[in-house]
Amino acid sequence: MKKKFKVLINNKWCKCCSLCIKFCPVKNLTMTEQGVKDSGKCIGCKLCERYCPDFAIEVQEIKK
């Protein structure tokens, strides 16, 4: 079965720089009034986690 992932954003540290959004290859992340939003299409590449300069992202596999 295909693996599923969730993107955890720490809003206390996020500065809304949008680097994660620009690096995401599947356009899973969007900027909203409440901060960065995960739309459930994540493929787990972790580019957003790597390039967030503020340690604010952790990508986790959803285990059933």
Binding site: C14, Y51, P53, D54, F55
Partner: protein, 244 residues
Amino acid sequence: MQDYLTLLKLKKLPTTWCPGCGNGLVVKALAQAMHELKMNKHNTVIVSGIGCNGRSAGYFNLESIHTLHGRAIPVAEGIKTANPKLNVIVLSGDGDLLAIGGNHLLHASRRKTNITVICVNNRIYGMTGGQASPTTPLNAKTASTPFGNEFPEIDVQPVVLANNNLYARSTVYHFDHLKQVIKKALLDKEFSFVEVMSNCYQGYGKKAGYMHPYEIIMDFKKNYNMSRSHKKELKKNEIGFVKK
């Protein structure tokens, strides 16, 4: 929580840096490299000078010193001399290490003191409002060079290699490569120097015509290739490490 975060003082976050600033990426790469090498507060000290980047040392969960502008290297040499068992890392900016602190680099390199210097080169004095530094490109418009920078940039590689020390170069785009060369430098037993090309959108990028920090980072991808030789000097557009 990701393991390497134990190396940071989480209570001090978020950092004071602008959104998208490359300084955070270098802190992350160094923290991950240190974590993989089991370096921590029991065996490692970080020393910085003054500047935006100079604040990095204080975010690490270990003993650190935020020294006077330009004086990180002699303080680090003093620590290493007093307690040779410690891993001593200097983490600072291009202005701090190559302008006001340039003389110390010459002599630490000559003495081959066993410390690792990580120079975060964003090509500008970020903290003071974007004045030209010794690594600002020729003709670049900055707050202090409104008609374009008249002077060529300093090349630090030959200074480090002149005494057969380790010189490495990477960029914040090449994150895993950056981590690898930092590890290489941390394990080296003589003087080692890592030059990291980093992005300062606020102080440098805006005037240089970029629209977002992302564009500066992607320029590193476009402009730098990986070198495979460890014996030859890196070309201007190469990343890698050299130890003769």
